[in-house]
């Protein structure tokens, strides 16, 4: 691909999104709620688009397309079961939202700390988030590096790609906090979905239309249309991959924090439904993309090459290829900037805020703003070093973050949950998940994520029953939720 096209496309993308970022900046963001939650006043459509852009990273059009290439339709099941799991936020969303407003929570870990009446809960959950999400961001950065260098035959080097992505992520999150993130995310979400749909239409058309496309798959690659198919997605692999992702909407703070932000329950509703529709379309796009690679390049050694090969194939006009490449880059950056912002708020609120005697809101905001570029630079260095431990932690992130899920369930649905239960379940299971991933152990054939959810649930329940629950707080908290929800639903 012509590298001057690529440079132009990247430059236009940067300019347009920076303009949007600056335009998103009304008034002063001089407190934590304003900077990190947009004053809890986000509209429904922006929330939905930004939620989509944050959730869907470069993984979709590179990784999921590659999974489809390797294992066939099982990749669709994996991703759609995740999407069905987002139904969780139809239950948890309004609860997060009302307690956020009532108690003024900025981060999900802050909520856990308060509900279980123990600062250490907030701290351990906050640290777990950083431990897994910084490496996850680093891997996203490397994705941009590979994409740009791969498509320009190294005329834009890996390091330049990583550097561009890091700087953009810092700018988008720094300019106006969540406002600039939400608005640039929205722009990027629209861009991602439109460009990738066009490519899929071009591909299906070029490969014989819908009927011809599936006929080729049915006759030449029949195993790709069933599970376990060629054996890649045996039932254990499938469950091991899918289960941790099913809880993604609760376990990942960069998306669960979003539940605090919409201005009303009505806008929260638009966010959930809008995201689900976006997710279904984008998933199908990525799957068709992978199937197209199966048809066009049946004998690839390296599945990561599926997407670059499609984009530089004869079927896709070069200019469209370049535009879509920018779309994939946008997908990565819109995920990283949200993670940066969430981790900065988590660090300022839950780590710094809990270690100080009387932390002022102003000081926390300053710490948060200071931490944004620091986290980005750590992720950048990780990306440049390409350490195997980073890749490991990134892969382990969905399994590693799932360990806080029992505590989140307990927050709203189990009065007997205790701080000791959370500390034990998160601490012990976190260590176990890392060990399982590090040594690639699969006891009884089950993957780390399955063990993560099983063990953390058992430990949380067991230790909670053996210790004293913060009964007064639990009672007050759950009554508040009940009354507030009744009131809101009548509105």
């Amino acid at each position: 691909m012509n590298s001057s096209y690529v440079w132009w496309a990247v430059a236009i993308y940067i300019i347009v999104s920076l303009i949007i970022a600056f335009l998103s900046r009304p008034g002063k963001q001089n407190n934590m709620v304003s900077y990190f939650l947009g004053d809890r006043k986000l509209g429904g459509i922006v929330s939905a688009l930004s939620y989509s852009a944050t959730t869907y990273s470069a993984f979709m059009l590179v990784g999921l397309a590659g999974l489809t290439y390797s294992g066939g339709v099982g990749a669709l099941g994996f991703e759609l079961i995740y999407l069905m799991g987002v139904s969780l936020i139809a239950f948890f969303g309004p609860r997060f939202w009302v307690v956020g407003k009532k108690y003024g929570y900025v981060t999900p870990s802050e909520m856990l700390g308060d509900r279980y009446q123990d600062k250490r809960v907030a701290i351990i959950v906050a640290i777990t988030s950083c431990l897994f999400l910084i490496p996850y961001s680093a891997v996203q950065l490397t994705g941009v590096g590979y994409l740009l260098s791969g498509l320009t035959n190294n005329e834009i080097t890996f390091s330049t790609g990583v550097l561009i992505a890091t700087i953009m992520a810092i700018l988008f999150s720094y300019i106006a906090g969540i406002r600039s993130v939400a608005w640039t995310d929205s722009l990027q979400a629209v861009f991602m979905i439109i460009t990738s749909i066009i490519v899929v239409l071009v591909l299906i058309n070029g490969l014989g239309g819908f009927n011809g496309f599936f006929q080729t798959l049915e006759t030449e690659h029949p195993a790709s249309l069933a599970v376990p198919g060629n054996g890649f997605f045996n039932i254990f692999t499938f469950i091991g991959m899918t289960l941790p992702w099913m809880f993604f909407s609760l376990s990942n703070p960069q998306v669960s924090q979003r539940l605090f932000m919409p201005s009303s329950l009505k806008n929260l509703k638009i966010m959930i439904l809008g995201f689900m529709v976006f997710g279904l379309v984008y998933t199908l796009v990525a799957i068709f993309w992978g199937f197209s690679a199966t048809i066009m390049f049946p004998n690839l050694d390296n599945v990561d090459m599926a997407t670059p090969l499609i984009l530089s194939s004869d079927l896709v006009p070069p200019i469209l290829g370049v535009i879509v490449m920018v779309g994939i880059m946008a997908a990565a950056i819109s995920t990283i900037d949200s993670i940066l912002l969430t981790l900065a708020s988590v660090f300022a609120k839950d780590v710094y805020g809990n270690l100080r005697e009387r932390p002022s809101d102003r000081m926390q905001l300053q710490i948060g703003k200071f931490v944004i570029p620091v986290i980005a630079i750590i992720a950048y260095l990780f990306a440049e070093m390409e350490l195997s431990i980073i890749v490991l932690l990134s892969v382990a992130s969905s399994a590693g973050l799932i360990i806080a899920v029992p505590a989140i369930f307990g927050t709203f649905f189990w009065k007997r949950g205790t701080a000791a239960g959370v500390l034990a379940s998160v601490g012990i299971t976190g260590g176990i998940v890392i060990l399982l991933e590090a040594f690639q152990w699969k006891p009884l054939g089950l993957a780390s994520g399955v063990w993560g959810i099983l063990l953390s649930t058992l430990i949380f329940i067991g230790v909670s029953l053996a210790t004293k629950a913060p009964e007064e707080k639990a009672e007050e908290f759950l009554t508040t939720v009940k009354i507030a929800l009744q009131k809101e639903r009548k509105k």
Partner: protein
């Protein structure tokens, strides 16, 4: 949890369970587009519809 919510939770959980069971049992030999591909897609549309029913009243005007 409201009673109503519990019913929805049971329905959605059963549908998600079927997303694991059906493709690995009934559809495992159906190597056609109307096999697992269609099943998972339609199931997701149904789940989205159920979510709509569950939350459509929120902040209703």
């Amino acid at each position: 949890m409201k009673r109503n919510e519990k019913v929805y939770a049971v329905i959605i959980t059963s549908l998600i369970l079927s997303a694991f069971v059906v493709p690995y049992t009934l559809l495992t030999n159906v190597e056609r587009w109307y096999g697992s591909f269609l099943f998972w897609t339609v199931l997701t549309v149904i789940v989205i519809g159920i979510n709509y029913l569950l939350i459509k009243e929120w902040g209703g005007e």
